[in-house]
Symmetry: C2
Subunit: 435 residues, 2 copies
């Protein structure tokens, strides 16, 4: 008999069906025994109503993998209004050990370290797997939106010859006796590829050797990167970044409603057709006027400043998103394009989502001579490590810009998680390299 | 004026338009000057018919980035039947150096090392960029097919604690003073995730520290991985692998016809609704009968054997694809499921594409005790490095299997490239870490 998934069982009342999955719960209620079977798409209740069937089940532990054949019966008291009776069982994979924590309760009760140690099984919990289904949806929504805007997907190398992008915080690799590094972002390659495809995106791992132990840092994460050419300035980049945000949210709403419900997300973030934006010095002025804190002249915003600005965007514009533009040049990487009218500030932006930075982007320099000048200003005298990057600009690059979104941070902020590790399949941090 | 792409120009005869891109060619023909502008989607001819316009162009070198506004005129002798006249130019990014090789000839003429050294600009050649658009199409076709079959996308860590999968050929990373490794495949993680989502896929980089210098090896490549549960045996895996192949080819045909034409692919591979299959010992017998070479008892097929089998599949079944099943257990990794009826042979397969291996896959062990036995047979006494992997099996895993496709090899074999480096954006090999 062909196996069907549990949500299809209800369409087969009066027929015998075959389902397969994991033993979710087994319980005895007033002399009747119920088995709940969980598969990839849901659960179904099986009534163990013969002595023979009961005998075959009594020693089974949760997570035993089994197939069940039985008769589908409408039963108003059963979850979903149906149950399977007169079952025959086939054990596909026995379990002989007790789980480190229960997987069949609505909420998973385990401390973070215990959960992470046992993520291999912990991820089977319906809330945990729902969360990582949303991650898949975010990636798919990102790609679908950019495909629709004429972008081409690229996959660029993660092993690189030099730590040129920031010069620090990179992992070293022994590469056949040479020293190589793990790419901390696809920044250089995505810019280079603008010269080839004009509009590109990449979804892939990035590696940061930052020795931070915080709830917002992990050392390997998935970066959603986009970069494109023939822009006027950073405002064209902001327009695409906000289209991507709206596209992802619409994608989740269209394809992941069940997962959002499982995770208790009753309303998606408010993402208006045009996201509000505020210029960096104006944001500092606003903070002084509204909250009485004078941060004017500081080169960056503190987390509390971002939270205030997030509140303001929500109150004034009804938006969960707010662009802060024009961060001071001193805090931005060397390839950042200055604001031509106000060169101490940049044509870059952060996108705050509910008062926390989620996306960073901006216009980049595109003229070869500007790169030479910017590197000289940074005190770079040896251009050799930049040789191939600079070659792209030597041979003509259009005005361009782009942005990057951290997948796990998006999940964290969307679901209000208190630790980014809960938004990461198998997180890597200072103390964790496994599972 | 809004910029339009070159293929749209023909829809604007009699109007002034703005196009933007790179200076592809500039030539003087009998007193008339033609500029060909190349953008991401095509080229357009611009007639430089005023002395002023000519003066502004004369010193420009190929790849100069510029915008052109002018009048669209139907001209039967022009490429595509249209050209732009009375142009005004805006130089967006000047070029002052000569290219290492010409980008405006139909075929790119550069030796492989010279091309790879200058890939940053060489990839702009229309044939090269067409090839990497096909790579994007292969990834998209892979995902679309598996999404349609209920698979969930995952992104698993590339930094791992131990070199457990094969014990060799891994790159070591300095991870905050500890030793970590780069994942040589997502094998363990994709199996673990079958316990969570039942059906999973991943598109991402893998790293092989193999010191081989051949036309078919690179040290970092993109692996298209799939794995799924509740299979009968490897035949269910073969069915999905062949559906994926057909899905990718159909996707290319539907969305990448222009690129296939640019690359001279006049006919896509023949991928029948059911791919032919031959059992490993039968393949050896066939080779003896047909080609007189006795390789019976050998543990693997040589490249010439694969080529013969490819010919046979083409002649006997009209198929560019052939499954070889049942490779001897001794040549397969420890997690391979044996053929229950013939335990010296495995429930695994290679998929030959035009006589060369493209896909490897099979049924995996799924019982915890079978893993303990398999590792013991391999002489593994310390189970600690396998602890988290084994935990998935300890807590019940369905019968499952999967397969992996190397993206760059697919491109290489589809296009008949003579070196895999030509199918790789920025290849990494024994001597190459840049660009």
């Amino acid at each position: 008999m062909e196996r069907i998934y549990t949500p299809e069982v209800a369409h087969h009342v009066g027929e015998r069906v075959r389902v397969a999955g994991s033993l979710h719960t087994l319980r005895r209620l007033g002399g009747i025994n119920f088995l709940v079977l969980r598969d990839a798409r849901g659960t179904v209740q099986v009534v163990v109503d013969t002595a023979e069937a009961l005998a075959s089940l009594e020693s089974l532990l949760p997570e035993t993998v089994l197939a069940v054949e039985g008769l589908v019966v409408a039963e108003p008291q059963a979850p979903g209004g149906i149950e399977i009776r007169a079952p025959r069982f086939e054990i596909l994979s026995p379990v002989r050990a007790a789980l480190p924590f229960s997987l069949n309760k609505p909420a998973l009760k385990a401390s973070l370290p215990v959960f992470l140690d046992h993520a291999v099984v912990g991820l089977r919990h319906v809330q945990r797997r729902g969360l990582f289904r949303l991650s898949a949806g975010i990636m798919a929504g990102f790609r679908a939106t950019l495909d629709g805007l004429g972008f081409t997907e690229i996959q660029t190398p993660k092993l690189v010859a030099s730590a040129t992008e920031s010069g620090a915080n990179v992992f070293a690799v022994d590469y056949f006796g040479q020293r190589a590094y793990l790419a901390q972002s696809p920044q250089f390659y995505k810019q280079i590829m603008v010269g080839v495809f004009e509009r590109v995106y990449e979804v892939g791992p990035v590696f940061r050797a930052e020795p931070h132990d915080t709830v917002r840092h992990i050392n390997e994460y998935v970066s959603l990167d986009a970069e494109f050419g023939f822009i006027r300035d950073h405002r064209d980049v902001m327009a695409v970044a906000s289209a991507v945000m709206r596209g992802i949210l619409a994608y989740l709403q269209a394809h992941y409603a069940a997962e959002l419900e499982t995770l208790g997300v009753t309303a998606l973030p408010v993402a208006p057709a045009e996201f509000p934006a505020i210029y960096f010095p104006d944001a500092q002025e606003l903070i002084l006027q509204r909250w009485g804190e004078d941060c004017r002249g500081e080169p960056d915003l503190a987390p509390q400043h971002e939270r205030w600005l997030g509140e303001w965007a929500r109150t004034e514009f009804g938006s969960d998103f707010l662009f802060v533009t024009g961060y001071p040049m001193g805090k931005r990487p060397f390839y950042t394009h200055p604001n031509p009218a106000d060169p101490a500030y940049s044509n870059s932006f952060d996108l705050l989502f509910r008062g926390t930075e989620l996306v960073t982007g901006g216009q980049r320099l595109h003229l070869y001579q500007d790169y030479l000048d910017a590197l000289a200003r940074q005190g770079v005298t040896d251009l050799k490590p930049f040789e191939t990057y600079l070659e792209a600009f030597k041979f003509g690059m259009p005005p361009h810009g782009g942005f990057a979104i951290g997948l796990e941070r998006f999940v964290m902020q969307l679901l209000g998680l208190d630790n980014i590790r809960l938004g990461t399949l198998f997180p890597r941090d200072l103390s964790r390299l496994a599972p």
